[in-house]
Every structure is written in structure tokens, then in C-alpha cells.
């Protein structure tokens, strides 16, 4: 990568190498490629537009600062960035101690739109990508109770025990819902190439 120019066609791995070599244009390309996805994830967790943009900026700064810790042998750059984004967003959510307010909002959204799990996804957007299409179908074939349990775990960072306490549903039931739901989604992804 050292002798190559950064272009929009570069792979994510090449861009990470270029960031490790302190090339700002590589981070800019990575920003153009994934800022929309990462902001959507932040928004889904913290539900605040202004805060989401600030946090997105902080996350890309962390990508820049921590790039030397990224290893392609351990996974894909997108997976690394999504994990970082989710962790920072949940940290922010917890700092705000806003569980109650978020719960109210989620409950309201669920009442408004039964398919709350992918409530900000339209059919038109999904058709843009085969991967997204597959994800949409796999998530939406899950029973509602399984989707909700996964939602608490993924978007609010709750453990099984916390979900059980929060929803007043027996821990064993929550475990079963999560295990079954995640297994179904994993199995539906087996046909995908190693894209993320």
C-alpha cells in the first residue's frame, strides 16, 4: 500500500493499512464508505441526531488512533468498526442513564410499527443489496418475541439476566428466545461469502 494511491476502489483492508501509515485520505474514504451505516447503528442505540454525529466523529478518530491494533487476521475492518461503534454507543447510552426513556420510546415505536426491528428499513433500500435482502428476510421470519429479545441484547447491550429483569420474563425463556433467534439468523447467513 505504501507506494499505492488511495482510491475509492481500494479494499477495506488496504485502507486500514494506509491509515496505519497515517494517510488521512484513507480514513476519508472509509468515512465515505461506512459513515451512513455506522450512524444508523448509533442512532438506533442512542436516538439523538446531534449526539450521533458527534459520536460518529469520535469513533472515526478512534479508528485513526487505534488502527495499529487492527489485525486483518482477526477479522474484517467493517466488523471491527461496527463492534467499536456499538460498544461506544452503548457506553454513551449507559452514561446517560436513559434506559427508562429509551424503553418508552422503543415501546412507542413498537406500537406504531409492528416490524420495529427493521423499522427504518424500506423495501426499496433493501433491494439495493443482496446481503441486506437476505438479512431482512432472515430477521423478519423470526417470531416477534425472539426479535425483541435480540433487540434488547444488541441495541441496548443487555445481558440475558438484565433482559429477564427488565421484561419480567423468566430467565430460561429469555435464554431460549435468544439462542433460537440467533441460531436461525446465523444459519441463514451460511450461504454468504466472507463479506464482513
Amino acid at each position: 500500500m505504501t507506494t499505492e494511491n488511495v482510491t475509492p476502489e481500494c479494499t477495506d483492508e488496504s485502507l486500514m493499512e494506509a491509515i496505519q501509515e497515517r494517510k488521512p485520505e484513507a480514513l476519508e474514504t472509509l468515512y465515505d464508505r461506512y459513515s451512513g451505516i455506522l450512524k444508523a447503528l448509533i442512532m438506533r442505540i442512542i436516538h439523538n441526531e446531534t449526539e450521533a454525529d458527534d459520536l460518529l466523529q469520535e469513533i472515526y478518530m478512534e479508528v485513526w488512533n487505534q488502527a495499529h491494533n487492527f489485525s486483518a487476521a482477526k477479522g474484517k475492518p467493517l466488523g471491527w468498526m461496527v463492534t467499536l461503534t456499538r460498544r461506544r454507543s452503548i457506553d454513551r447510552l449507559r452514561k446517560r442513564q436513559a434506559y427508562a426513556r429509551v424503553e418508552e420510546r422503543l415501546q412507542h415505536e413498537t406500537e406504531q410499527q409492528p416490524e420495529a426491528w427493521v423499522h427504518n428499513t424500506t423495501r426499496e433500500d433493501i433491494l439495493l443489496s443482496d446481503v441486506r435482502q437476505l438479512l431482512y428476510e432472515s430477521i423478519n421470519t423470526l417470531p416477534r418475541a425472539q426479535k425483541e429479545a435480540i433487540e434488547f441484547a444488541y441495541f441496548q447491550g443487555m445481558s440475558q439476566r438484565e433482559i429477564a429483569a427488565h421484561t419480567n420474563i423468566p430467565l430460561g425463556t429469555i435464554k431460549t428466545r435468544l439462542e433460537l433467534g440467533l441460531k436461525k439468523i446465523s444459519e441463514s447467513l451460511k450461504g454468504l461469502k466472507d463479506e464482513f
Partner: protein, 87 residues
């Protein structure tokens, strides 16, 4: 713990949904299953990306990128990292 049980726990582990005691049991099984376990966990990490990709992209305001890149270029000129983040 059977390997099938380990698989179920692995998916929860990558999402951070296991509590402390469960994580300890999981780690014991992880050591026991060795390389097979590590390969399965690596596969499970895709789940994190999957849920993010299921959301419709939400573009940030244009000035967010401008502010970010100004900080990055400033850091390059100083020969260091960006300041004021979690890193």
C-alpha cells in the same frame, strides 16, 4: 458443555449477552474445544455486522466529515494521534 451448547453460547458471547458467571463457564469450554472453538467464535463475530447492516444507512451532516478531517490533518501535522476521544 456439548459443542452445540457452546455454539449457542458463542452467539450470545459475541453480543456481550452472557453474564459474568456464564462467561466464566463459556471460557472454560472455549479452552476445552481449542481451535474449533476459536473458528466458531470468529464466524459468530459476523453477527455484530449483520445487525448493523440490517439498518437503512443514515447519512451524517456534511460538516461532521469536515470537522473530523480537520482534526485528523491537524494530528498528522503534529505527528500524533487525535485528542479528545475515548482512545
Amino acid at each position: 458443555m456439548s459443542f452445540e451448547e457452546f455454539e449457542n453460547k458463542s452467539r450470545l458471547y459475541v453480543l456481550g449477552a452472557l453474564d459474568e458467571e456464564e462467561t466464566a463457564h463459556f471460557q472454560e469450554a472455549r479452552e476445552q474445544f481449542g481451535r474449533r472453538a476459536e473458528e466458531f467464535i470468529r464466524e459468530c463475530r459476523k453477527l455484530n455486522s449483520v445487525f448493523a447492516l440490517s439498518l437503512r444507512p443514515n447519512q451524517p451532516k456534511p460538516d461532521t466529515k469536515a470537522r473530523l478531517m480537520a482534526k485528523i490533518r491537524d494530528a498528522v501535522n503534529r505527528g500524533g494521534n487525535c485528542e479528545g476521544n475515548h482512545g
